[in-house]
């Protein structure tokens, strides 16, 4: 039998070196006895038979898991890990949970990670006197050998203070550099004044109306309580909970003084200037509260038209999209960007255009974290018509440009055959000319790049025609 003694500090690294050496000598796992700290005198000590030597190559994922499991308190872990690395080298596939060794290592690694996580959660520092940087100390009792693996977290988090975390076996010290020492005596630092504030917080953040002791204990098991300054409040909080709830129920509310309420109401609802009736601003405010069709409910807001009241040209699109719904302004999303580029190239000044949509709310279907555009139907277009009519009546444009079938339908009563009608000028009932073109989002959807290019050129030609027609 080969005896291997691993040190208390640096156990995992030492195991790795030893395991490589043992494998190089070809020593079988059943011929190795592993110890940590000091070796007890062993009657069967002696050397082990050597076999075929080899060098170990272990997948990175497997090694990380094995080294985590080596921090477990199970005395068998070193032997199991050595056996497993040899088997992995012989072709065992890592990750197969039906293998007993792999499964055990995975379970132990998980339990070690949980212990480390609990250390990160339940270490409680107390301030101790110092010269220079502030200094803190904590006493903690982990379930496994997790000090070395668990404390680099604190070095990252508390980089500007000195600290010590003492555990029954190993003490971690940080003064800019993290070092480990064997603990010589159990040392709980003296209480510090902030602890009372923390206890106050703990007692008051607790809601007595929803006592769930089991849920608390599954996450904060009693074994950790003795080093938590807040834990001794728990029995009292649970005991008093029912009484506090009963008191709440008994204490009937009274109305607050009318004057106080009135003052608060006035402050809570600040006066906003009311826009003059018969202006676009008044219309916009009115439309913001529109519930004429069901589209208002899932949408964020009414996206009303934008532009000067004396614009010569009014562009009408289909409906706001995802970005427009969030921003509250029409044509700001991808289709809006195409529109902007082509309008500028065609010589139109966007600041002089009135831009709006046939339907003022975004119609969509939710898909996880996205929204899929849906075409508005006839009744939605009809319900929204009143706003478009009033916009037309106030702006009185010389030219209307209908972009897409929905706009065309809203303006002329029919959206059929848009591709045949595009580029032509039709008339509203009152004689206002309506130039027909496609919706810029149509250009975004064309899969064939050649066709997209050609269509984009035609779109620009339509806008150029609009620019020509709008000139006096």
């Amino acid at each position: 039998m080969r005896q291997v003694v691993l040190p208390i500090i640096g156990t995992v690294a030492a195991w790795r070196t030893e395991a490589r050496a043992l494998a190089a000598e070809g020593i079988a796992p059943e011929h190795v006895i592993w110890h940590r700290g000091t070796a007890p005198p062993d009657l069967f000590a002696g050397d082990a038979p050597k076999g075929q030597g080899r060098s170990l190559t272990i997948p990175r994922a497997a090694l990380a898991e094995i080294e985590a499991a080596l921090c477990h308190s199970d005395p068998e872990r070193f032997a199991r890990a050595y056996r497993l690395v040899l088997r992995l080298n012989d072709g065992l596939v890592w990750g197969d949970r039906s293998d007993a060794d792999i499964r055990r290592v995975m379970e132990q690694a998980k339990s070690v990670r949980r212990d480390i996580h609990k250390m990160h959660a339940f270490v409680r520092f107390r301030e101790v006197p110092s010269e220079g940087r502030r200094a803190f100390a904590a006493w903690f009792e982990p379930e496994h050998h997790t000090v070395e693996a668990g404390t680099p977290f604190f070095a990252k988090r508390f980089g500007d203070m000195d600290w010590v975390i003492a555990t029954p076996e190993i003490t971690a010290r940080f003064d800019g550099t993290l070092t480990f020492h064997e603990t010589t005596a159990a040392a709980r630092p003296p209480e510090d004044a902030t602890e009372e504030l923390w206890r106050t917080y703990y007692a008051n953040i607790f809601n007595p109306a929803r006592v769930m002791v089991r849920a608390m204990q599954s996450e904060m098991p009693k074994k950790y309580w003795k080093n938590l300054p807040e834990a001794d409040l728990i029995p009292g909080l649970i005991r008093d909970a029912d009484r506090r709830v009963a008191e709440m129920a008994a204490r009937e509310a009274e109305e607050a003084p009318a004057r106080r309420l009135a003052v608060a109401r006035r402050m809570a609802v600040p006066e906003r200037p009311v826009p003059t009736a018969g202006t676009l601003d008044a219309l916009r405010a009115e439309a913001a509260a529109c519930t004429r069709c069901p589209l208002h409910a899932p949408a964020t807001q009414t996206v009303f038209g934008i532009g000067p009241a004396d614009a010569e040209v009014m562009f009408v699109g289909e409906q706001p999209g995802d970005q427009e719904d969030l921003a509250g302004r029409p044509f700001v999303g991808p289709a809006g960007q195409i529109f902007d580029q082509e309008a500028e190239a065609a010589g139109l000044d966007r600041g002089r255009l009135y831009i709006t949509n046939a339907v003022k709310h975004f119609k969509f279907a939710p898909r996880g974290k996205r929204r899929l555009h849906q075409k508005p139907n006839g009744s939605e277009i009809h319900a929204c018509h009143t706003w478009l009519d009033q916009e037309l009546a106030l702006v009185k444009p010389k030219l209307i440009v209908a972009m897409g079938a929905t706009a065309l339908q809203a303006l002329t009563g029919s959206g059929e055959g848009i591709l045949k009608r595009r580029g032509q000028v039709e008339r509203m009932e009152d004689g206002t000319p309506v130039l027909v073109t496609v919706h810029p989002s149509y250009l975004l959807r064309l899969p064939d790049p050649e066709l997209a290019k050609a269509e984009r050129r035609r779109f620009r030609e339509d806008l150029e025609q609009a620019a020509r027609l709008s000139r006096p």
Partner: protein, 405 residues
């Protein structure tokens, strides 16, 4: 003049009805350079648990519980006689830093009653976050509750200093909100969420010179809805959640069972909070986000089943779609098997490429075979009992004798 301890007692008591506790995600930061304190960006840490089973991860306090609003469900509404207090900027900064250095918390979750005006309140909250970040070099987690109607400049600044922003939608329906919170507007809240989403997206785009922009609320935004204070059913609640996830890319919707508050308004039910309903809503929320379920599938009845979880309830109601062949079924269908979680399904899909998955392997893959058994078929197991009328009883809790009180 109240002491710091008294203020802390009042202002943490006032904050406990907010369920949010997450401290995960967001920007990776640490203080290895020795010039500040704190780290964030990993998985969140719960530093303590209260006897209500809720985790304590952040210092969750109100800046003040003075409030000019009169929301019926809120302990801090103007018409409540609850004792009032207000922290100074320095006091909140000091509490946060001192708690943080002792490893009590992951950071700060700051909310507030509305004093004077939305902008005044928001400006003070932003000042706290700014002092923590710039003067104290604080690199821990900050969650700010934004105030409805605060100005865009303040929201912009808040998003610069905070990891997460949130604004509570409060009620499942617009009607419920206007009834119980007359000064709040659902549309205003949704507009604010839309604005945060746009700013987050803009912050992720590189500038025209190729530089990265300053992060804006890198851990996202969340919201909370109170359940059981109005007449809305679970379908209303979940429909709203699906809408909020899609519209504003929320990281989380929190559900908070309405819990009796001291000095409660007479408009509200003063009974035990519907904790089981809250639990089922969280389960259903997970099904919507990670399991490919649609609201209409799990909440078609209006209310979720309180006795069995929503996934099992769906499976029991759709037995014709089972048993599922574990080695052949699509991932989407495996996700619908009770007792199979997302991780288990991923492991099954990976393992069956190497060879047939057997029943004996399932436990090691994380499946709860006791729940899955009637709904699956695979080597080593044949489903049985699927058409048994008593199948439901195996999942429902045993009938309890009614309490006399």
């Amino acid at each position: 003049m109240k002491s710091l301890t008294e203020k802390l007692a009042i202002l943490s008591d006032a904050a406990k009805y907010d369920a949010s506790c997450a401290s995960s995600g967001g920007a990776k930061r640490d203080s290895r350079d020795g010039k500040g304190v704190g780290s964030s960006g990993g998985s969140g840490i719960c530093h303590a648990y209260a006897p209500d089973g809720r985790c304590i991860s952040l210092l969750k306090i109100l800046m003040t519980n003075f409030c000019i609003y009169d929301c019926a469900y809120c302990v801090n509404r103007v018409s409540s006689k609850v004792e009032r207090a207000r922290f100074s900027v320095e006091e909140v900064v000091r509490l946060t830093i001192e708690f943080y250095r002792r490893n009590y918390i992951e950071g700060l979750f700051l909310s507030s009653g509305i004093i004077r005006s939305s902008d005044d309140t928001m400006a003070d909250m932003v000042r706290i976050a700014k002092t923590l970040r710039e003067r104290e070099g604080f690199r821990g987690y900050i969650h700010l509750k934004t105030i409805p109607d605060a100005s865009p400049e303040l929201i912009e600044e808040a998003g610069k200093y905070a990891d997460r922003l949130s604004i509570n939608i409060e009620m499942p329906t617009e009607a419920g909100l206007s009834q119980l919170a007359p000064e709040k507007s659902a549309k205003g809240i949704r507009r604010a969420m839309g604005e945060v989403r746009l700013r987050r997206e803009a912050s992720r785009e590189v500038t025209h010179t190729g530089k990265r922009r300053a992060a804006f609320a890198p851990a996202g935004q969340s919201t909370q809805v109170i359940v059981g204070a109005d007449a809305a059913d679970d379908r209303d609640v979940l429909t709203q959640s699906a809408n909020l996830y899609a519209n504003y890319g929320l990281s989380r919707v929190y559900y908070s069972a309405f819990s009796p508050i001291p000095d409660a308004s007479r408009m509200l039910p003063l009974k035990k909070p519907p904790l089981m309903r809250e639990h089922r809503l969280y389960q259903a929320d997970w099904l919507l986000r990670f399991y490919g379920f649609d609201v209409s599938e799990i909440a078609s009845q209006g209310m979720l089943d309180l006795e069995v979880d929503p996934k099992t309830a769906w499976a029991l109601a759709h037995r014709e779609q089972f048993p599922v062949d574990v080695n052949r079924a699509a991932r989407e269908m495996l996700l619908r098997v009770p007792g199979f979680g997302v991780k288990t399904v991923d492991r099954i899909v990976a393992a069956r490429r190497r060879g047939a998955v057997r029943f004996e392997h399932l436990v090691a893959m994380g499946a709860v075979t006791k729940h899955a058994k009637p709904f699956i078929t695979l080597p080593g197991w044949t489903a049985r009992g699927l058409d048994d009328d008593a199948l439901r009883a195996r999942y429902a809790p045993a009938p309890e004798q009614l309490s006399l009180f």
